[in-house]
Subunit: 425 residues, 2 copies
Amino acid sequence: MKLLDSGLSAVRGYKTAGIHAGIKKAKRDLALIVSGKPAAAAGVFTTNMVQAAPVTYDKALLAAGNLIQAIVVNSGNANACTGKQGALDAEAMAKTTAQALDVRAINAQSTAVNPGTTADTKDGNQVLVCSTGVIGVPLPMKTVNDGIKEAAAKLSNTRKSAIDTAEAILTTDTFKKETAVEITIEGKPVVLAGIAKGSGMIHPNMATLLSFIITDANIEAETLQGLLGNSISSTYNMISVDGDTSTNDTVLTLANGASGTPAIVKGTEEYEKFAEAFDYVHAYLAKQVVRDGEGASKFIEVQIKGAATEKDAKLLAKAIITSNLVKTALFGEDANWGRILCAMGYSGAQFNPDTVDLTLASSKGSLLLLKQGAPVPFDENIALTILQEHDIDIKAVLQEGSAEAAAWGCDLSYEYVKINGEYRT
Amino acid sequence: MKLLDSGLSAVRGYKTAGIHAGIKKAKRDLALIVSGKPAAAAGVFTTNMVQAAPVTYDKALLAAGNLIQAIVVNSGNANACTGKQGALDAEAMAKTTAQALDVRAINAQSTAVNPGTTADTKDGNQVLVCSTGVIGVPLPMKTVNDGIKEAAAKLSNTRKSAIDTAEAILTTDTFKKETAVEITIEGKPVVLAGIAKGSGMIHPNMATLLSFIITDANIEAETLQGLLGNSISSTYNMISVDGDTSTNDTVLTLANGASGTPAIVKGTEEYEKFAEAFDYVHAYLAKQVVRDGEGASKFIEVQIKGAATEKDAKLLAKAIITSNLVKTALFGEDANWGRILCAMGYSGAQFNPDTVDLTLASSKGSLLLLKQGAPVPFDENIALTILQEHDIDIKAVLQEGSAEAAAWGCDLSYEYVKINGEYRT
């Protein structure tokens, strides 16, 4: 697996654009990701009972088994809690995108695109829609539609377009999240690239607000959906910034087959190779989202070892990473292991507290704080040296079995409170 | 039901003391609550898998059906995660208390005490033990034992002693929590009085760190335990400060019968009267705990109406009151109703988001923000006027049935982060 530094533009057969349409005051707020030919698609969406209009729209589209040619995304407005008008607006975004795209022209320009069937996208049923931003405000549809047309005219496969696209999906994020990797399938290069946004409302089930992974792999939608579900459960569902689950969380994947390899089929070595790269991209983006957690001053990784079951291991890891008291302790660079053990205690997992080993670590060293459930005296100065680092590891070893899990999160800072006290107004 | 302003000293047949033993630097840190004769007792404890030594000790004592004569409490050290030494220390606190108490002398001095059997408390099995404070540090037992002896020598039923006791159980609290009420049972006055502590680690199941209610009612332990369980589920279990559940949460009740009435029996009118007063004291103390939530600048009451079941109503109310994003929005005085609806969406309760009405209110007026699931345009200045008040009500009306629930919490402020970033060190 080779890391590439060109983001979405590394993948053959796609063009992208990211522009400022005017939904936000000044920053880019509208993105298009377009495949030269209809692509297999898979998606995972928020489990919140309250779902934004584009989430409902996309779920129906994917459930119908449609091949997908484009994803249109706006930031600055979530189109959530917007009633019937919201549903009509999501549909209109898809239609405007379909009408604005001259798909045959794209194919002709892009030499990397495999020749293939170009479906008529005029009715919008090959366009997935995503929105993120403030809840409960109707979309400014004139601005959105004009923006879509402008973006369609700017579609390209340059590095600049890839960067613009990664930027246009952001809200309170402080940096763009993107990655790309190349693997070899049946002797040919296959590329996977992804972008993500999210820095608040980040919590297990699901974690990221928006994440898009595109690949030129040749893989069927059903296989892709299976891979996506697996990948999410150990990546996006194991990160937490603040314990809230959004109405808009959406992870989408497109695979357009432009690599020209035979189809990747479950149970083969090539499938495992693809799955590994796919997981890598998700894990990388998930961690980037946490690194950009609202107001985060620390990146925290929790490792649970020796749990009875994987479910228990995940419950324990999530409880620690979600605890406000653990987060504030790490913000304060305080080796307050009692709060970690306490969070494990209410996680719902079964374990014997009297056999737990607990370690805090960073690049400056590691400190055993609890040995077989009993406190180990430690030097506060050494603890402080370790905890002053940005990246902190919490490791809990149980004696219940051999299951393990990891989770990622950030601390809870003044800045988090400030950002979220001021977000809407 | 008559409100009294004398706290624990209002109840006949008890003496109390609160002193500075030296566990904390300067503030009172050791309390005794002693009944003149053995009292019926009931308790509810933390559901955390990690339980402090005194919790384990008290559960065993109550399970054995012992009558109880005293409660000894220290603050400043939780005696949690302290291994076998912790268990020995909790037992030693009970024994020292038993030995320090000359129960017959107390009875003789206190004219209000009913004459009754004075059990031999020398072995400590009539003494309940509570600890609160930092986790994982062994108790300074010389200091604790000396403190118990000093407190025993100062026991009295004066208002001063009641105040000292209410103060001695506090940790990060900024004010003492106490209340007392009088009702009439079979023509005679019966008094219930309670104190509580808790301002961090406050979360449903259970909410308060420590709460003690004493009464001179004549009621059997089993009946008292039933009342306590009911009362907790709609009071302490419906408050939340930060989503963390402590290792030490303990609610204890003593009833010594000093009122001289016949026993209060389930199913009678007198029972209902007592239950109402009992619930009032718990609800009052629970709300006081929230008002003192670490760093709280707002007191928030959530009302859910029209839910399908009481369980759903409670899930919805708890999800709202626990959401960091709702808490920070209210800290920022921002009518961000989207976050409220979002929290309802992931609560686990079943409901149709398209029929929800949502109202924010305070003493300055009320504002309908969501009508049948659709946003209602509102004046931001009016919203700000309402939200600038200290006490804020959130009301959600569903169309699923007739069940309702209330929950209480506070906002999430810079100060919360500050307090919890600095608590241990």
